[in-house]
Symmetry: C2
Subunit: 213 residues, 2 copies
């Protein structure tokens, strides 16, 4: 099992486990069973054990998992056992909000640079980061890119990031980009997720005259 292909879905769930463990480690706990972690997170206990087993067993039968040790193991699997630097491109409303987002911290991310095309924004400080020109990215040793530019600028930004040696991109722009095969891209599309939500929720009332078609 250990050497078989690892499901993407298992990888997707690891950060959730990590968050739960970090939260539990603050509560002066040492050991935890898959059952109790599962209850804490609202997932299934066998799912947790199965997911962890893809990467090798980290627990002790009859006892459970050592929280601190498991945190280290998951960090290592996710390659978060070192500071990982990311560059953000597009310092608009969303970009500024992401720059100030406190959630990256616990995973060991550092947004190390921010870029924008607008000359007015160059030099502005957001949090402790100074906005610079995208051209200066190449000199920095940064693996990950975060794209928060408008749709029209997405393809160009994407190309520039690839040229600058970025290996993976988290994009908030829903627009399709060619050249995706070269690097890993994860897209967050807020409007699309809201549309998906709409599917599952029958509208409470149908307002006459508001139908769009």
């Amino acid at each position: 099992m250990r050497y078989n292909k690892i499901p993407d879905e298992a990888v997707r769930r690891l950060p959730t486990y990590l968050r739960g463990l970090l939260s539990l480690s603050e509560q002066e706990r040492k050991k935890i069973s898959s059952q109790r972690l599962a209850d804490f997170l609202g997932v299934n206990h066998w799912q947790i054990r199965k997911d962890l087993s893809y990467f090798g067993g980290f627990g002790t039968p009859g006892i459970g998992y050592d929280i601190e040790k498991l945190i280290r193991q998951i960090r290592k699997i996710l390659k978060l056992n070192m500071v990982r630097k990311a560059a953000l491109v597009g310092v608009g409303n969303l970009g500024s909000a992401v720059l100030r987002y406190p959630g990256f911290r616990i995973y060991g991310f550092e947004i190390a640079a921010a870029f924008d095309n607008n000359p007015k924004k160059i030099g502005r400080k957001i949090g402790h980061i100074t906005v610079a020109k995208l051209q200066t990215l190449q000199k920095r040793k940064i693996d990950l890119g975060i794209i928060t530019v408008p749709c029209e600028a997405a393809q160009e930004t994407f190309n520039k990031l690839i040229t600058a040696g970025i290996k993976g991109v988290l994009s908030f722009s829903p627009c399709y980009k060619t050249g995706r095969k070269k690097i890993k891209v994860i897209t967050i599309d807020i409007a699309m997720d809201l549309s998906r939500l709409s599917y599952y929720i029958p509208p409470s009332q149908f307002v006459a005259g508001q139908a769009l078609s």
Copy 2:
């Protein structure tokens, strides 16, 4: 097939198809084949046909799909064929950015109200929306909620939205919430997605002394 269970994954892809079709409809096109739509979006043509077939066939063999008609069909499936109102709670950096986010428009969403606990923020205008107290939500006819409050406030906000009659929630707060079974919840967790990205990207260099464990 038409009456079988519809995969969540197919629902997830519909908004993508809708976006592509909207984009193509601006280019004075009338018909399109699944092959060409697939190429445009960077997906497989049989996937598009299969997904659409779960909801009934909308195309014409030998011809393809009528773009305008298919747009209407998908809107109807996603229950976006009317104005859908959403309320946003938590007007911080992220909340403000989401309020100003232009992407909801094309899907027919309207962020109809914004709420915050902070008295200083009440009455402030963001875009054309005035921030109000969450207590006033109950009087409005709104189905969907968007949660952009900090982790600590997530559970309380969630409870209040359920009490106010909200049927579905898009949450940017990664924190676990009890009571999820009552309503549909979709979570966007930026840091978690970045962690997932990290897994797929070997760091370009290991900086000595920066390892966290």
